[in-house]
Amino acid sequence: MGRFLLKRLGLALITLVLLSMIVFSLAQLLPGNVGRNILGPFASQQQVDQTNHELGVDRPIVVQYGRWVSHLLHGNLGNSLEYQGSSVAGLLGPSLVNSLKLAALAFLICVPLSILGGIAAALRQGRVTDRSITIGGLSLTAVPEFVTAIVLIVIFGVVFKLLPTTAQAPPGSSFLVQIKYLLLPALALTAVLFGYIARIARAGVIEALDADYTRTAYLKGLDTRTVMFRHVLRNALLPTIAVVATQTGYLIGGLVVIEKLFNYPGIGQRIYIAAQNKDFTMLESGVLVIGIVYLVATLVADTLYSLLNPRIRYGAAE
């Protein structure tokens, strides 16, 4: 198991380096002169050159990349171009926490619900329940988050007036009130993930139900309950757990749109505002943070998977 995780960790590090290169080169596509963008059209060429020299943007690309990475490793994400003097790290940190709150609520609603849906569909394979969960889930997954969100707002916020249509609770609200405000955006994010996770869970359960060990368990006289919990679900849900973490990326992509729609101050909103204002230091760091969150989530899933799967736990698979 140690070797398996070490290998995964190595791969994640390589991916991280590649990711930083992609993000860095995307930022290099920015048209125009950095010094000129900061100082404006009325600065003299000499001042522009000096600013460029101070920022180090007149050096070769490789040197710039090296400097950027070394700053990153020291936790220095630079200063926001838009909010002069505010450090990117100081602005991104609280936003990330807000986003994680929203994402956590979405996961808490979504994972149990979609796994139950997948199991129900598998047990009623080919019948109406199965078809409606499969097709309904597929449709929910396909529809963009903001569209689902609009439908949810119209139903719960406008027609029945049950839930608030913005996500930010008034300052000093209690925990439950905060959750009430986060419910609609979380539900919109849940809808996108539901179909996918349910589909994997369904496939896992169907495979396990067909397996020889399930038949053996029945034949040796175990009752349905024991067979389901000890033999079928245990095996069926392994791939589901592995897949849930890979959906983090998808979830964060949804956050950009959902946070804008509900006006929620998370990392997606930060990235959106940075993109709109061409605040490139902020954009670069925000994108990189998202990539890191995804890689960490994948690593956690791999660890969890190897802990649950005896074939990897005892090192037989590698």
């Binding site: 995307l26 529809v143 963009p144 903001f146 569209v147 689902t148 119209v154 249509t165 804008k260």
Partner: protein
């Protein structure tokens, strides 16, 4: 005698029979038919656009925010424009951009997938890592970053989405090529002295078309998803197009007042029906191809 006659050269070739069976299976699939009906409806409106709509989708009138089910079936928006006409004409832009972006990604991905799957080696490994890195970022985040750098236009939108799709399609094609390259006909062609491009594009490509078509349909769904999201954020299709996501972006602030739901709900349902239609088609195709 009859048996001999039946086995005569008029017998359709094996490939022809297989193709006819595939078509028959598709026509039996309810999901495939339903999906095609929905997509067909929107293709029709994307082509005829504003020519057949009851009102001009861009014309502003004095009856601002009229409620639906009156003179204007689906009401009017804050500028007095007819929502029904805008929903019908709103299909045009997205139905141009999403398929073109998908086509670009599928073409690029097919070439890259064939080459890496056939030759393998270093390029193959390197590409695998790059795909992992790209997958670590949500499509919408990559697209926003790239579009901010290059500037928003329909062409940018097509190129950026196509470029992000290329490695993703390449992975599917590569997997299909790996399964094919060890079958007898590939070494046979090589022994015959055929060159690599011929083997890849004339021998292997026709045999992996099934997975490529399925992948293309699935990608089309994602492309619509991406264009809609980017347009909503203001980085996609630009006004004054009556595009669905633009309509939502322009009017959703009215929802906070607790009313005027029709200006956003109907374009939202239009986007939803289109992506669901495309996904039903993809689902039907997948079930038939993977049979």
């Amino acid at each position: 005698m009859n048996a001999v006659a039946a086995a005569a050269p008029v017998q359709p070739s094996e490939a022809r029979v297989a193709r006819r069976e595939t078509v028959a299976a598709l026509l039996r699939s309810k999901t495939f038919i339903a999906g095609n009906l929905i997509v067909g409806f929107w293709v029709f409106w994307a082509i005829v656009g504003a020519h057949l709509t009851p009102h001009d989708p861009l014309a502003q009138t004095s009856s601002v925010l009229a409620r639906p089910f009156g003179h204007y079936w689906l009401g009017t928006d804050s500028l007095g424009r007819d929502v029904l006409s805008r929903v019908l004409a709103g299909a045009t832009s997205i139905m141009k951009i999403a398929p073109l972006a998908t086509l670009l990604g599928v073409a690029g991905g097919t070439v890259v997938g064939l080459v890496t799957g056939y030759f393998r080696g270093f390029v193959d490994d390197a590409l695998g890592r790059v795909i992992d890195a790209i997958l670590a970022l949500p499509l919408i985040v990559i697209a926003v970053t790239a579009i901010v750098s290059i500037g928003a236009s329909n062409a940018t939108l097509i190129v950026v989405i196509g470029a992000v799709f290329t490695p993703l399609v390449a992975r599917t094609v590569r997997a299909a090529v790996l399964a094919e390259r060890d079958l007898d006909y590939v070494p046979a062609a090589r022994l015959r002295g055929e060159r690599a491009p011929y083997i890849m594009f004339v021998e292997i490509l026709p045999n992996v078309l099934g997975p490529i078509i399925v992948e293309g349909t699935v990608r089309l769904g994602y492309a619509i998803f991406a264009v809609a999201g980017l347009t909503f954020l203001g980085f996609g299709i630009q006004p004054p197009s009556p595009d669905w996501s633009l309509q939502i972006a322009e009017n959703y602030a009215l929802l906070a007042g607790g009313s005027y739901w029709w200006t956003v709900l109907f374009p939202g349902l239009a986007v939803a029906s289109l992506v669901i239609g495309v996904n039903l088609v993809a689902d039907g195709l997948t079930q038939v191809v993977e049979r």
